[in-house]
């Protein structure tokens, strides 16, 4: 397609979900949500356009037989040199992941239209889905750290708000806050890595991390800088992809509607971290310590999730941990330098798990039918682990898996409780400071409280 410039195709691909977000978001803000039919049509059209444009961009880029290309759309925030530019860094990897994301988002959008028909939060769901797709495409195509950060934040916020989709119940809301807490740690690590990169390298361009510049002899990053930035990125990835020690949020995130669980924790969001790690491969190659750390985290997560998934009593949690097992293995593959295998694994797993999540309600329905027919549960013969491991060890492993590795209680005890305790003490200290400056006197006559507030 020599007549269609790549810049236009990529802009259309990344821009159409953003336009959808703008339209649906404005309608919500003006308290005039669009009718379901319009919302569904707009969402379907946006995803289709995005998928078509990005697939075409992949073909155009492949035909040109070029390597990485930085597409710049000019300064956005200011004409000053410190301003933020809209830039996309395209290569086969980024375009393939972006096209895959658009395709998966299109499928989920079509599924959600029926699944959430007449649900009170229908419009809210599609606003958040549009935010998510915009975010994931920005993460896939980002050419500088600001664009990457925008995408990362969009994915995080939309994810937390969708966990709290059934917001009239306390449990989803409390769990959404927990998920967001981990995401904020991940965001802070990502932002720190970005700022550090700019400070060290004097540039916002992600070609320093993702391109050949990172491994070239003229690389501006020293070994120590590369290790620090890579470790911060691994923390960001661990938060977003639920690697250890942050895995505790994953089952909590299953409170959202099934299509959102499918797209976030089955296929795309949970792989966003892996994709980022894959993109940062040149940086990882500069830092053996970071590679070892990534590999160890991936292996530990795969083992932990593989064990935990076997004892889950609900299908969504079981699938979520099964996803996490594969995510851990993908991280190990990246750490070992098997990039092509890692990407194929990622893409295949994202599609397969999406299908599993979306068909889970039907499978459950069928299973109930089978149980009714045979009058009992289908028998399970047990796996290799059951035959190889003693009863005592199995019991311990069972308890460990049932309690999901005690991760939540450990994090509560080591992080949440000390933080809360200290902050409450400081609050009391502030009140005491006021008392120290001016002691309170008890009023002899209680007067009517004037609560006017202009």
């Amino acid at each position: 397609m020599p007549g269609v410039p790549l810049t236009v195709l990529v802009l259309v691909g990344a821009g159409s979900p953003a336009m959808l977000l703008l339209v649906l978001g404005t309608a919500s803000l003006l308290n005039r949500p669009l009718p379901e039919r319009w919302t569904a049509s707009l969402a379907g059209a946006a995803m289709l356009i995005s998928f078509a444009a990005l697939s075409l961009a992949l073909v155009v880029h492949g035909a040109a037989a070029t390597d990485t290309q930085l597409l710049s759309y000019g300064a956005w925030s200011t004409s000053h040199e410190r301003g933020i530019a809209i830039e996309f860094l395209v290569d086969r990897l980024s375009l393939a992941f972006a096209a895959l994301s658009a395709a998966i988002a299109g499928v989920v959008s079509a599924f959600s239209n029926r699944y959430l028909h007449r649900e009170p939060g229908y419009n809210r769901y599609f606003v958040l889905l549009a935010m998510f797709v915009t975010g994931i495409l920005f993460v896939a195509l980002a050419g500088n750290i600001q664009v990457l950060f925008v995408g990362w934040e969009f994915v995080g916020l939309s994810s937390a708000l969708l966990v709290a989709f059934f917001q009239e119940r306390p449990a989803p809301v409390a769990n959404a806050f927990r998920v967001l807490s981990v995401y904020r740690i991940s965001d802070a690590a990502m932002l720190s890595a970005a700022v550090l990169l700019r400070n060290v390298a004097g540039s916002d361009s992600l070609s320093l991390l993702f391109g050949r510049a990172a491994t070239s002899p003229a690389s501006v990053l020293s070994g120590t800088d590369a290790t620090i930035i890579a470790v911060l990125l691994i923390v960001a990835v661990a938060g977003k992809s639920a690697l250890l020690p942050f895995s505790g949020w994953l089952p909590r995130a299953m409170e959202g509607p099934t299509p959102s669980s499918a797209v976030y924790y089955g296929s795309l969001s949970i792989h966003a971290g892996c994709f980022l790690l894959l993109r940062s491969a040149p940086l990882l190659e500069q830092s053996p310590a970071a590679r070892v750390l990534a590999g160890a985290l991936g292996a530990a997560t795969a083992l932990f999730a593989g064990l935990t998934t076997r004892v889950q009593s609900d299908v969504k949690s079981s699938l979520a941990y099964a996803s996490l097992t594969q995510v851990g293995i993908i991280v190990v593959e990246i750490a070992l330098g098997w990039y092509a295998i890692a990407f194929i694994h990622l893409a295949g797993h994202a599609c397969f798990r999406l299908l599993q999540f979306l068909s889970a309600p039907n499978v459950l329905h069928d299973l109930h039918g089978i149980e009714d027919a045979i009058g009992d549960r289908p028998s399970s013969r047990g796996g290799i682990l059951d035959r190889m491991v003693s009863e005592r060890v199995r019991r311990r492993l069972f308890l460990f898996a049932l309690e999901r590795g005690f991760l939540d209680s450990v994090l509560d005890r080591l992080v949440v409780e000390p933080f809360t305790r200290t902050a409450r003490r400081l609050t009391r200290l502030d009140a005491w400071l006021c008392e120290a400056v001016l002691p309170k006197r008890r009023p002899i006559v209680v007067e009517a409280v004037d609560d006017r507030d202009e």
Partner: protein, 465 residues
């Protein structure tokens, strides 16, 4: 009289007219409608001033104040021009969304007076005039706490703000009086302490949560949101202070940004959480202003606008909710999203603007701020990253607690608990402004870079002297 002076007079006329009208025995609701229209008119006029470069050429000095320096008594330049619609916007927000039962004639008068004082403060660079206006603004705020129920908060605020004003006065005398070349540095430090107290920077902060929590939230928002302490810093401290002094202030501010955000996250009272959020946001601005790089300074100036508007809107949302539900405890879920979806969405929008979420005005400002701060303070600069993460959590926790977690209870049909059209449109307009400037920030960001460059030029000249 030139065009510029006429426009300036037109900007000052609406609050002056409301002050005049409030002296007559007019019905309060009519009075409020008049105040809303006046504030809208002021906003339009000030937007024209801000958007028309040839109106930024006002500078007037008087020989009566020549003993105190050659600074202009009234001036409109790139820095101040943008603050004029900011002051008008805060006034419009106040008179448009304050619950009917909470705004009497005295309240309307005080808000107009406070706006006029804020406007005048943003127009001057004379230390003496700024001191007089600072005294006037403190007096207006204290007048709002006059009732016996808020006696303790009035005294606490009186002590802290009294000390701040006193230090400011001593500083002005030492900097401008005879022998200023010997006492100038001491004077500057006095003004630094005055600004730190007024902005609630740790360790001078204890009055802020107390006044927000147990005082009157509305006047506290109107007093705090314009951040006159930041203006004192830009006009009086940044041009004169040594690099070490600026570093010290910036480090205190960075610490306060984290402290405020962390404490906002664990509060049980929505009002107190607002107080700590204000401390954190205000400290971020201070941190930016005290970094001597152009980017960080421009970032500080941007965060000043975004955080001021977003924080004021957020705290006003809390007031609107309190008018319908009473005091708000953040330990429980209140629900009510279905009944007030617009308030919930705008609350979240304004909260996200406070945290510098992408797509809002705060994003570009915080980006520049983080970058500049890390450049200057390689370790402490990351405090902004931590503060931003904690603020985000605090805001979402408030959102979840105030709007989610349980179904809206059925109410009698006669009870109208939704937003009034005036409230709804004001909050929506504010969010549109925050998102609009977030999506298309270029004119505003460019103007802040020009202002930052001018401030640094003045600093260069001043230090050279």
């Amino acid at each position: 009289m030139s065009d510029a002076w006429l426009w300036l007079a037109a900007a000052a006329a609406p609050p002056a007219a409301v002050i005049g009208a409030s002296l007559f025995p007019v019905d309060v609701e009519r009075m409020r409608r008049f105040a809303v229209m006046s504030a809208a008119a002021m906003l339009l006029v000030t937007l024209v001033i801000a958007g028309t470069p040839h109106l930024h050429r006002i500078s007037w000095t008087t020989s009566a104040l020549s003993w105190a320096g050659s600074e202009a008594v009234i001036r409109v330049d790139t820095l101040s021009a943008v603050f004029l619609p900011f002051a008008a916007g805060l006034w419009l927000l106040t008179v448009a969304v304050t619950p009917r039962a909470s705004l009497d004639r005295g309240g309307v008068l005080r808000t107009a007076l406070a706006t006029l004082i804020t406007l005048a403060s943003f127009l001057t660079e004379s230390a003496v005039v700024l001191l007089v206006l600072s005294v006037a603004s403190v007096w207006t705020f204290m007048a709002a706490l006059q009732d016996s129920a808020h006696r303790y908060q009035r005294r606490i605020a009186g002590i802290y703000l009294g000390v701040s004003t006193l230090m400011f006065a001593i500083g002005v005398v030492l900097m401008a009086g005879p022998g200023a070349h010997r006492t100038g540095t001491a004077g500057m430090w006095c003004i630094v302490i005055a600004a730190l107290i007024r902005k609630g920077i740790v360790p001078f902060h204890a009055w802020v949560p107390e006044v927000f929590d147990h005082g009157r939230l509305g006047p506290a928002i109107l007093f705090s949101a314009p951040q006159l302490g930041a203006y004192m810093t830009v006009v009086l401290i940044v041009p004169r202070a040594s690099p070490d002094a600026l570093r010290l202030i910036a480090i205190l501010a960075l610490g306060t940004a984290v402290y405020g955000a962390a404490l906002a996250l664990v509060q049980t009272s929505a009002r107190r959480a607002c107080g700590y959020l204000f401390m954190s946001q205000s400290a971020l601005v201070m941190a930016g202003l005290d970094c001597t790089s152009e980017g960080a300074l421009a970032g500080g100036l941007l965060v000043w606008l975004s955080a001021g508007l977003a924080f004021a809107g957020l705290a006003r949302c809390v007031l609107v909710l309190e008018a319908r539900r009473g005091r708000l405890d953040l330990r429980t879920f209140h629900g009510g999203y279905e009944r007030m979806p617009l308030l919930a969405i705008t609350f979240l929008g304004m909260g996200l603007a406070c945290t510098g979420f992408p797509g809002t005005l705060g994003f570009v400002g915080q980006e520049l701020l983080v970058d500049g701060a890390v450049e200057e303070f390689p370790v402490m600069g990351f405090a902004i990253v931590a503060a931003s993460a904690l603020t985000g959590l605090a805001v979402v926790r408030m959102y979840f607690s105030l709007f989610c977690g349980r179904p809206s209870p059925p109410t009698a049909a006669s009870l109208r608990l939704g937003l009034t059209p005036r409230e709804a449109w004001t909050f929506v307009a504010l969010v549109i402004a925050l998102v609009g400037f977030g999506v298309a920030p270029r004119p505003l960001v460019d103007s802040r870079f020009v202002a930052a460059s001018e401030i640094l030029q003045v600093r260069q000249l001043s230090i050279g002297r």
